[in-house]
Amino acid sequence: MRVLADLRCRARISISILSVAAVARWCILTMKIKRARSRKSGLKIWGLLYCRKALSSLAYVMNASVKVLTPQECPKGNVVVVAGGACIADLCDLLLQHLHCPKRKECTVTSIAIKAEGLIKRYGDIVAVNGVSFDVEEGELFGFLGPNGAGKTTTIRMLTGLSKPTAGNVELLGLDIKANAATTKGFTGVVPEASNLYDELTALENLLFMGKLYGVRRKERYERAGMLLELFRLQEKRDRPFRTLSQGMKRSLTIAAALIHNPKILFLDEPTVGLDVMAARSLRSAIQKLRDQGMTIFLTTHYLEEADVLCDRIAIIVRGQIVAVEKPEELKKMAIKEQAIELTIRGSASILVEQLAALIGTKPIIVDSNTLRCSGTTNSLLPHICRAIQDAGAEIESINTIKPTLEEAFVRITGLSSSMMAMEKGGK
């Protein structure tokens, strides 16, 4: 039925284009889109179901580079228009100003920076990555979490075009990386797991070489190199050969080298592995700054706290398959639905065990002689718990709400121990 409705809608649009007014509007749209396409960026427009007709007409005007996903393909009642090579701002403008959309104010526009569809990588009989699919929105800091050998680096290599997938597709800013290898490489920056710049070149020379390789003009090359050395606090080391820099400085310079051409998407593969606490903190702060500037960042890490602090969304990969993709908070909620409260009592806590068990439904755990941990509680139960304690003649010294950590969520979701992740690469 929906297909029929869609066909009818398209037919109506075709007829309407015959009218003078529609032809005039079509011309305006076509001109705008042509201008937008030259900017070589990608776009996904998400609209409510009510906008379907409007989006379809947009798709019609934008011809082959657009596909309208059916409601079955796109859950939550949204209609998605994927437009390769179109400019987000202009298309937003088109959607909101020119199309007759009854609920256009409810339309939201979201661009997809990285789209992985059914990625599979086989090495002989070994399946390193098995059907990985996800979207990363523009400006998002997306974490890719998993233990060693889970397929993180293999995935990042496929996303950056370094390794050919056995099956599946990758689109960066709406462009297929196979068909547009040079273009997509031009707007991506990659920081591999190893700091692999040139030992013999100085910090500045390494940056200038990378800039030249990416076609950055001489003046801009020098300006950006100076700016990046300053951002990563390497200004004083600019004339020192790469091999003489400390591990942290090498890592920072490797990230700086990936940024010399001002990429739109940055891939970071384990950026803080092997760094001391201060160097890792300084790097995280630099990564946050880049995210704040609107750069899309794809970060692989096995440090759970790092992912929790930095990432807007996290995908967890285990044995080559994605087991969850969510915001850190949602992941925690997904894995641990129950909240726990820790109560410290003046005097012995053991006398309250039975009373609280009757109230909550589960027996509290005695942490120490003064402390009880009640799991399975909700905030609404808190006043009742306090009253029960007061009724028993005890006095509360402190109450702590124990929130689930990403580490707990990871353990629940993957069935792996978090210490396993830390141990595998030396840990912190």
């Binding site: 950056t160 075009g161 370094l162 390794s163 050919k164 290898a181 040079a182 273009t183 490489k185 031009g186 991506t188 990659v190 591999p192 190893a194 692999n196 710049l197 040139y198 030992d199 013999e200 070149l201 070489f209 990378m210 030249k212 390789l213 990416y214 076609g215 080298a257």
Partner: protein, 241 residues
């Protein structure tokens, strides 16, 4: 195309700066050919002129392949070759940059030996004809070096692997002993190696041998370049799959 040309130039300039003075390049690419030239000169200074074309070809072979081992295997070991593959330039351009980097090293060394021979041994050479053989020879040797170097990871492994064809070629390609004087089977084998055509070509341009079609030998060397370049490109592509 423009991006690729820029990339090739960047890689050559960086390789010249970074790798030309690495110990393996100096020992196998500079010291070894000079030692051979001196050894043959000291043994028989009177008839040395006849050996110069062969020694020039051998210098070109050793210097280019030694440089290839350094420019490719240092980067394979450190992972910095990946860095080039991530840049918006084609894999062919990267390989060509690496091959030209080795060829330029060979050009410098061979030219140095040729200049010394011309100045101190009165070795007559038409420089344009000399370059018409030297340049395709350098490309063929460099492409051969790149193919073999891409098969291994470490520089020492590459030098060891390269020594096999290098020494076989030195002995059967007419560097010290004329190909025509060898048994038929070895003569046939000699014609499967690019060094034979380089030696003949140098003999032709220097007047040591008469009636040699220099253009044909240059064309054969260019064919060798393609024969080595295409599988090397394929190997590089497979290495990063």
């Amino acid at each position: 195309m423009r991006d690729d040309l820029r990339g090739i130039w960047c890689i050559i300039a960086k390789d010249m700066r970074t790798y030309y003075l690495k110990p393996p390049a100096i020992s196998w690419g500079i010291v070894f050919p000079i030692a051979w030239v001196l050894a043959f000169y000291l043994r028989n200074p009177v008839d040395f002129k006849g050996l110069i074309p062969g020694l020039l070809a051998m210098t070109a072979l050793f210097s280019t392949t030694a440089a290839e081992a350094v420019v490719i295997n240092f980067e394979l070991r450190l992972g910095s070759l990946e860095r080039l593959l991530l840049a918006p330039i084609s894999m062919m351009a990267i390989l060509l940059g690496k091959i030209l980097g080795g060829a330029i090293f060979g050009l410098l060394m061979s030219s140095l030996v040729a200049v010394v021979c011309a100045l101190f041994l009165n070795f007559d050479l038409d420089w344009i004809s000399f370059l018409s053989i030297l340049l395709p020879a350098l490309l063929a040797f460099s492409a051969m070096g790149s193919l073999l170097c891409l098969m291994v990871k470490e520089v020492f492994e590459a030098q060891t692997l390269l020594n096999l064809p290098r020494f076989v070629m030195v002995f059967i390609s007419g560097v010290v002993y004329p190909v025509e004087a060898m048994p038929k089977a070895l003569q046939f084998l000699a014609h499967l190696f690019p060094l034979t055509y380089a030696v003949k070509g140098f003999q032709g341009v220097s007047g040591v041998s008469q009636g040699i079609n220099v253009a044909l030998h240059a064309a054969v060397l260019m064919a060798f370049f393609l024969i080595f370049f295409l599988p090397a490109a394929n190997l590089l592509s497979k290495k990063f799959e």
